[in-house]
Amino acid sequence: MKKILVANRGEIALRIMRTIRKMGIKSVAVYSEADRHSPHVYFADEAVCLGPAPSSQSYLNGEKIIAICKELGVDGIHPGYGFLSENAEFAQQVTDAGIEFIGPTPEAMRIMGSKLAAKESVKKYNIPMVPGIDHAIEDVNLAIEVADRIGYPVLIKASAGGGGKGMRIVEKADDMQEQMERAISEAKSSFGDGSVFIEKYVSSPRHIEVQVVADKYGNVIHGLERECSIQRRHQKVVEETPSAIVTPEMRERIGEAAVLVAKSCNYVSTGTVEFLVDDKLNFYFLEMNTRLQVEHPVSEMIIGLDLVEQQIRIARGEKLGIAQDDIKANGHAIELRVYAEDPLNNFMPSIGTLTRYEKPSGEGIRVDDGYEEGMTIPIYYDPMIAKLVVHGKTRTEAIQKMLDAIRQYKIEGVSTTLPFGTFVFEHEAFFSGNFDTHFVKNFYQPEKIREKQKANAEVAATLAVKFWLNKQDELRPVENKSTSWKRRLAH
């Protein structure tokens, strides 16, 4: 492979291109009119504008992307995450055009892309699953019937969904109508497929996923687990590895289950098998993400593999150079997703210009971002600014390093999830490892952040007054200066 097009934007496009360059391969960036000034465009060897800002007219325009590849002599496409990354038709068109799709086969994407087909596929391997209905429904009355049978609360999920989109919790029958309508409409507009299904909502669930890596010759290994339970709106904000609750024995079992899930669909490339873990440490297969995950850097930090490099090597037909026994956890890694959102206002998107943007740095600190000072966060895409990732010898060390890194990270112009991160990493429940996906609901108190801001504001105000008093002193004639006393004494 000599030239790879990255069909994505922002931090992930930049991160992928770094590895491409490291491997001595040329990179091609694509961008929308809103992203002309993005670092991924500056970094690439070649760049092509796809069209107007909305993703449907730019980053989702598969035909145009393939045409660009032909024109520029591109031999591989890396889709990143989101956009076209899990679109089986696109992967098929890419393959048919004689270009290598750096990811799984269209067939594996089709199976795992439909949660229902995925359940069917893994059935024969005796992998535990959450109780629910195993076919798509649109009928509200049927939904209520199913919910009565498995018991409230239930979860409505889009069959084609992911990343928490198209997912609704229903606590009682009265809410079913509204929630079904919203879930179906959201599924239609986000995924072009309105089918939803219902399953039991596991209380106190933890979200633990396993990284898998598979080559084209049936060799599959797992790259340990990631704990992703700290979420808001069912979307992850904090991820870490290893998980504080996974025992070596459970790690082996959950890892084996993940490998079997990958084998069930003849998986190729890197992928992630997601599990729900209940309070008794039983795990249930949720879904498989057939792409590079947002949170892949935490795994890279503890297993010492560049997962994008692995994807490229696998795509060009190399065998896995590592065996399961080579995978050992080195230390502990934590990631905080830095979103342009206001943690004091229900995590509402906070759009604006980055009037100040200074990244933290130091040993064991990694920042994957796609922004620079002065850039504006566009409303058209996901509001993630960066991923702040730290590595420490122990979990405690990693937490401390994270808190330091957050203090060093200077972002002004928009609200971000950084103060939320501080709240999480200072919280007793996170420190002890005793938390689940309801962390935000159970423990998060925005007023604590507010109190802390107030305390810091008071210090700032006090010191400002000190500064002002000194300045007033300076502005007076020399003979009236209080410091002149000291000078006289010193002579």
Binding site: R233, P349, L463, A464, F467
Partner: protein, 163 residues
């Protein structure tokens, strides 16, 4: 020694404090450099930096623990000027529902003149690929619907006016 100014009002972002300059002069604050300070306040050791300041030192930007605060110091004289009545705060009670975030109006569930009850859905707003139902928090009557389906709105833009 010059006279110490009387208590002043200090704004730090959206917080406001009344600070007595004589207390500040007695506090344990060390100036490490022209812009760097260390203070021990209630046994807490805090470092702060003055990032920007105007000539008079009443309008500043101060950083504490990674957070930046825009500071305005209003001394006694300023406060008297304020009290003499140039402030123009008058609270009108127009009731309207504003967009809590920028986004795209997907559908509108109400019409002008309609009576609505607390919890009724007004419209659906899509932002960052999420559909959000905008509900009403009180009973009322729709006076005007200010947006159309398919319209992009800014944060704070009026969506619906109520009688």
């Amino acid at each position: 020694m010059s006279e110490i100014p009387r208590a002043c009002k200090v704004k730090a972002n959206d917080f406001e404090f009344t600070i007595d300059p004589s207390a500040v002069m007695q506090a344990d604050i060390i100036q490490k450099s022209p812009t760097d300070f260390n203070a021990i306040l209630n046994h807490r050791s805090v470092n702060a930096r003055v990032l920007e300041s105007d000539v008079t030192g009443t309008s500043l930007k101060v950083e504490v623990e990674g957070e930046t605060f825009d500071i305005e110091i209003r001394d006694h004289l300023h406060q008297i000027l304020d009290q003499m009545g140039f402030s123009t705060v008058s609270s009108k009670h127009i009731k309207h529902i504003k967009a809590p975030m920028p986004g795209l109006v997907i559908s509108i569930a109400v019409t002008e003149g309609q009576e609505v009850k607390e919890g009724d859905r007004i419209l659906v707003l899509e932002a960052m690929k999420m559909e959000n139902s905008i509900l009403i928090h009180a009973d009322g009557k729709i006076k005007r619907v200010a947006v159309k389906a398919g319209q992009a709105v800014d944060k704070g833009q009026v969506l619906v006016e109520l009688d």
